[in-house]
């Protein structure tokens, strides 16, 4: 447990979290199956990168590895929880295709040059990395030529960018943050024995003499704050000429005990579309599929938060009792 000063104004911690790296790696790996005939060398690079990154980035939520007694002791301390989602806009990360002949050439050079080095590094041959460096210039030339012929026209990419920026604006206007709070409160009150309330509404009710929020308890009766920050959103894929991408939302969640501002639990969670498409395909039909994917993440992430923070009983699945 770590003490903090204030749940509302506490600066964001930028601890090394692996969620996004992990998802990047997974997406890199999944690209293998879909493009193996078209982009075999690039696929091999992606696979090697994926394996290396995953080896260092495997992450399990701490909740799953806690002692059940310790987790239940934390849960038993709380009964009423205020839900708060930070209004700070998330960071955006989009893996664009290489734009036009020049873009394809440049990206092809990078991928082509790095491929032999990666193979050499990963191979068991002594001096493999050195051999990879020697071959690297030839890989760069081949990659550059490959990039010239396979790159997406720049106008097409820019057109998709415009459409997707309009879709992003529609997502912002659709007040997903409010929907997320409502969904979390409903799900928490339905599936747990705890009481979930809107933190800001309860604060307003505590400060207002003409109380229009009578359904909310005064803030003093709230013993824990569930603070969520949407950290990153976007389209992720492997670094290749025209990578298939999928949508993702990454959030950071903290359960804070209010009497002493202590973080009881904190986790990073990710919601991904699970369906990879080329960048231009996401822009089809005005980007409606992107909007749907982000909307779908609201109930999925709400359930993940409620389940993992308040319902899941940590079990060691490798023990003798599990077949």
């Amino acid at each position: 447990m770590r003490a903090i000063k204030s749940p509302d104004i506490r600066p964001d911690r930028s601890v090394c979290r692996n969620g996004v790296q992990l998802s990047d790696a997974r997406r890199n790996a999944d690209t293998i199956c879909q493009n193996c005939f078209k982009q075999a060398p690039l696929v091999l690079t992606a696979w090697l990168v994926a394996v290396l990154v995953m080896a260092g980035c495997a992450q399990t939520p701490a909740i799953y590895t806690m002692q059940p007694e310790a987790l239940e002791a934390i849960r038993s301390e709380i009964s009423t929880i205020g839900v708060y989602i930070s209004p700070e806009p998330p960071e955006t990360e989009v893996m664009l295709p290489a734009k036009g002949v020049w873009g394809g050439f440049k990206r092809g050079i990078v991928v082509g040059a790095s491929l032999p080095i990666m193979i050499g590094f990963a191979s068991p041959i002594p001096g493999g990395t050195f051999l990879g460096i020697l071959v690297s210039p030839f890989g760069a030339i081949i990659g550059g030529i490959y990039g010239i012929f396979t790159a997406v026209p720049a106008e097409e990419v820019e057109h998709s960018e415009v459409i997707l920026s309009i879709a992003a604006e529609k997502i912002r206007e659709s007040k997903l943050r409010d929907a997320f709070i409502r969904n979390l409160i409903d799900m928490g009150n339905t599936t747990t024995e705890l009481t979930f309330v809107d933190w800001q509404e309860s604060r307003a009710s505590s400060h207002s003499y003409n109380n229009t929020h009578r359904s909310y308890p005064p803030q003093a009766s709230i013993d824990a704050l569930l603070r969520i920050q949407v950290k990153k959103v976007g389209l992720l894929g492997s670094y290749s000429i025209d990578p298939p991408t999928d949508t993702f939302v990454q959030i950071h969640v903290e359960l804070i005990r209010l009497k002493d501002d202590t973080i009881l639990l904190d986790e990073d969670f990710t919601c991904a579309s699970g369906e990879e498409r080329p960048y231009q395909d996401w822009a089809d039909q005005g980007g409606t599929d992107v909007i749907h994917e982000f909307r779908d993440c609201v109930p999925e992430l709400s359930e993940k938060i409620i389940d993992d923070f308040f319902m899941v009983y940590p079990i060691n699945w490798n023990d003798d009792f599990h077949n």
Binding site: W47, G274, E275, H322
Partner: protein, 146 residues
Amino acid sequence: MGLYPDNPPVAKKWLSLQTDFIQVDTLKPTFRWHPLAIRVEPPKDQDSARIDNITYELRIWRTVSSDEGKLVYRRRQLTTTEHRLEHALEYGTRYYWSVRAHFDIDGKTRTTEWTLAGYLLRSDSVPNDSCLRFKTPDRPNTMPKF
């Protein structure tokens, strides 16, 4: 990770990070998994921890999203570790599935995490690429033979 799935079985290619889509032979496949069997430490003031009311929840998602949504089948309160779908899935479609247990332990309702396989995306919401996988048979050719 999670309840061990029996059917459809889990298979994974050597180089792949995720499991294969196992072909089932019907649009109403039967799903089977191992029962929840855990040992828990009893509270200090009790001889044994009580686990009651074990039920199972099964979900199936279509892998490709559409306006109809990804979740296509959900059953809760299953008291056995086997379930045959009550309505047919679509021909030639890839699906994710997963199962989890709900139970009471010392009077509190708790769940297990969702069953996942392959490279475990335990920080991702479900459905995700680590869910169990199967695919339905292709639509049979109904053209008459001459």
